[in-house]
């Protein structure tokens, strides 16, 4: 069975009223990278995942989870 990484980035970002560019500025990556992570196209490195979690003040395992298709 195929596994993929699901995330709650868009939900958390929109809940705070942040744009992708604002989240990108907090994390220190480009808007394009936030965009591809939100859409599940790109799996971020541990470093970036931790920085995103820090920006949202949420545990990384809350933001990212492995799901089976």
């Amino acid at each position: 069975m195929a596994e993929r990484l699901a995330n709650r980035l868009r939900f958390e970002r929109e809940f705070r009223g942040w744009t992708q560019a604002e989240l990108a500025a907090r994390v220190g990556v480009s808007r394009k990278t936030i965009n591809t992570i939100e859409n599940g196209v790109f799996i971020p490195s541990t470093l970036t995942a931790l920085k995103i979690a820090e920006s949202f003040e949420r545990p990384v395992e809350y933001l990212f989870s492995v799901v089976e298709d």
Binding site: E22, A24, A25, R26, V29, K32, T33, T36, V41, F42
Partner: protein, 147 residues
């Protein structure tokens, strides 16, 4: 926290980069089509080979660095963040496979029709570098477009 203006500039430059790379690859392939369509006697003039060589070196430099070397460090780091670096690596891998498979095809072809060393290198480098550049431009354009 990064400056939002740096994020916006990196975004603008990233979009421009994928367009510039696409156009450069199309111009490159069009130029090489004309090169191979011309007669072998006039094909290998110093000017034509020199222009090809300069373009190839420029494209390799762009593929290796991501371009925009004169921009500030912060913007360049954003422009070449881990998403772009991964796209670049995937494109370079594609360039490698295109080169190897083209070399195999050329090897088989040379059994039926002689291919000079210079012609062979020209074909392989053109296909490998061109494919890598187009692939990088397409991956970056897709990443900008999603959402």
């Amino acid at each position: 926290m990064h400056d939002i203006h740096d994020i916006e500039e990196a975004e603008r430059l990233g979009r421009a980069r994928s367009r510039i790379f696409s156009v450069l690859a199309v111009v490159f392939f069009a130029g090489q089509s004309m090169y191979f369509a011309s007669s072998p006697e006039t094909r290998d003039s110093h000017a034509r080979v020199g222009a090809w060589l300069i373009l190839v070196i420029l494209m390799l430099l762009l593929l290796a660095t991501g371009g925009f070397l004169l921009r500030g460090r912060k913007v360049r780091d954003l422009l070449n963040d881990e998403g772009s670096r991964l796209n670049r690596l995937a494109s370079q891998a594609l360039g490698f496979w295109v080169t190897v498979l083209s070399a195999l095809a050329l090897y088989v072809d040379s059994m039926f029709e002689p291919v000079s060393f210079n012609e062979g290198v020209h074909i392989l480098v053109t296909l490998g570098v061109g494919a890598a550049l187009i692939s990088f431009a397409a991956r970056e354009a897709r990443a900008h477009r999603l959402g």
